[in-house]
Symmetry: C2
C-alpha cells in the first residue's frame, strides 16, 4: 500500500479501500433534519446522531461534524459534540467542519481545540488571512486540513470568483503543502472550474460538499476532480459529502436507520458510477 | 442623543459617551497571559477573567471574547464562556470574536449560537463566502456584525492585499449595510490603507485590533480611521482593541487588578490623545 506522509490522509485512503466508499456523512443536530419520532432537544439529537452512525458505519469513509449546529445548543451542544466523537470508530476520517481562520496564538488554540481536544483527524479552515493563519493547523503534521477554495453558493460571485481569487487560493494552498497535509473544499459549480483547480493542485485531497440537497453536478465534479490520474493511490483525493441526502424525508415511513442505510448505499453507487464515468 | 438603527451600535455609542473610553478589552483564557498566582486551569482562568473585568468595568466601552481560547479548553471552556458572559455588565458592547463564515442554515446556526445563546451584542465574521454567508448574521438587526476587511499579519499579503481584495470587501460590506448593523475589522497596517477603507465605508464602525502587543501605529490608524467627521454621533465608528497591553508582565510585582486598571487607564489616555492628534 502507498504510504502518505500524513496519517490522516493514510487513514482516509485506507477507509476508502476498505469500505469501497468515497462518501462522507454529516453529523448535524438540526431540527429541520430530524426524522419523525426524534425530539428537537439534546437527548433527541444524541439519539439521531447515534442512529446515523449505526446505520452507516462500515459503508462510509468519513464523518463530518458541522460545528454550527452543536454550538447553537449552547454548552450542552459542545458536550454532545465530544460525546458523539467518542462513539465514532477509529478507522474512518473524522472531520471538524468549523471553517476557523485567525492568526498567531488564536489560530494555535483553534487547532488545539479541534485536533487535540476534540480529536478530529481533519478540519476545515478559511484561508483568507493567509499563510500564517494556516500554519498553526499545518503544524499538526498528521492531520488533514481542508482549506476553502471554492464554494457553490451564490455569494461565491462576490469575492471568490471575481479576479480569480479561488485560483490564487488554490495556488497558495498548494505551496503550503510541504508536509502533504493540505486539502481543499471545492464546491461543484459550473463545468471547468473544478478541472482548473485540480490542475493547480494535482495531488491534494478534495472535500466536495453539496452533492445531495444542494444539487451539484456529480458527474462533472467527479470527472474534473479525478484529474488525469485515477489510480488507487490517489483515491484520498476525492471525498464527496452528503448530509440531508441520506436522511429520511418527513414523508418517509418506516425505520429511520434502515432508510439511512439504504440511501447511503444509493449515494455510494451514484458516486462510484460517477467516478467510473458511467452515470448512476 | 443620536439614535442609530442598530441597538448594539447605540449601546456602543452610549458606552463610549459614558466612559469616555474607545477601548475594547480582551477576555482570553490563555496560559501565556496569566499573571503570577493564577493557575492554568478552568478555575484559574475564571479568576483571571473576573479580575480583568473587575479591574476595567466602568472604564472601557467593550469586552471581546476570543472564542479560540475557550474552545481549546474543551467543553468546560464553552461553559466558562457562558459563565463569564453572565457576569459582564449590560451597558458595554460584548463582542464574540469568532470569525465564523459559512452558508445557509449553517451560518444561521452560528449566528444563533453567538447572538441568541451566548447573548453577545456583536460578533466577528469572515466575509470570504459572500453576501449569503453574511445575511444570517445581519438578519439579527439589533446586533453589530464586524466583518474582516484587512488584517495586519504578514499573511494579509497572500490574498487580502494583492488585487485589492480588501477594497472589494470594504465596498461589498458597505453595500450590505441597509440595516446599519455592519462593522469592519481593520488592522493597523501601512499608512494610507485605513484611510482608503474609511473612504469606502464612511459611517461603518471599525474594530481595530493590534494596537497593544502587535504594535500598530495608533496615531496613524486613529487619524485615518476617524475620517472627515469627528463629531460625537460617529464615535461608535472607532473601537480600539487591546488584550496583552493591559495585562501584567510576568516581571510586574504587585496586585494584578491594580496593574490592569492602571494600564487600561494608560491605554485610554493614549487612544484619546491619538484621536485628538496630540500623541500620548
Amino acid at each position: 500500500m502507498t504510504h502518505f506522509p500524513c496519517g490522516a490522509v493514510n487513514k482516509l485512503a485506507e477507509a476508502i479501500r476498505r469500505t469501497g466508499s468515497q462518501l462522507s456523512v454529516g453529523l448535524e443536530p438540526c431540527a429541520a433534519y430530524l426524522p419523525a419520532g426524534f425530539s428537537p432537544d439534546v437527548k433527541g439529537y444524541e439519539r439521531f446522531l447515534r442512529t446515523v452512525i449505526d446505520a452507516t458505519v462500515g459503508i462510509v469513509a468519513a464523518y463530518k461534524f458541522n460545528l454550527a449546529f452543536f454550538e447553537a445548543l449552547g454548552p450542552p451542544g459542545w458536550e454532545l459534540l465530544f460525546k458523539i466523537r467518542r462513539v465514532l470508530p477509529d478507522d474512518v476520517l473524522i472531520i471538524a467542519d468549523a471553517k476557523r481562520g485567525d492568526i498567531g496564538t488564536t489560530a494555535e488554540h483553534y487547532a488545539r481545540a479541534l485536533y487535540d481536544e476534540l480529536g478530529a483527524d481533519s478540519a476545515t479552515v478559511n484561508p483568507l488571512m493567509g499563510r500564517d493563519s494556516a500554519e498553526p493547523f499545518l503544524a499538526h503534521a498528521d492531520k488533514l486540513t481542508y482549506f476553502l477554495v471554492l464554494t457553490s453558493n451564490p455569494g461565491a460571485q462576490d469575492f471568490l470568483i471575481p479576479g480569480g481569487l479561488y485560483r490564487s487560493i488554490a495556488s497558495g494552498v498548494s505551496s503550503w503543502n510541504s508536509r502533504g497535509n493540505c486539502g481543499a473544499v471545492v464546491g461543484a459549480t459550473r463545468p471547468g472550474r473544478v478541472a482548473e483547480i485540480r490542475g493547480l493542485m494535482p495531488e491534494i485531497p478534495f472535500l466536495i460538499p453539496g452533492i445531495g440537497a444542494q444539487g451539484g453536478d456529480l458527474e462533472v465534479v467527479a470527472r474534473e476532480g479525478r484529474g488525469s490520474s485515477a489510480s488507487s493511490r490517489t483515491q484520498a483525493r476525492l471525498l464527496f459529502h452528503v448530509t440531508r441526502g441520506v436522511l429520511p424525508l418527513k414523508s418517509d415511513a418506516g425505520d429511520a436507520s434502515a432508510i439511512i442505510r439504504a440511501k447511503t448505499g444509493e449515494w455510494n453507487s451514484r458516486v462510484t458510477a460517477a467516478l467510473d464515468g458511467r452515470g448512476a
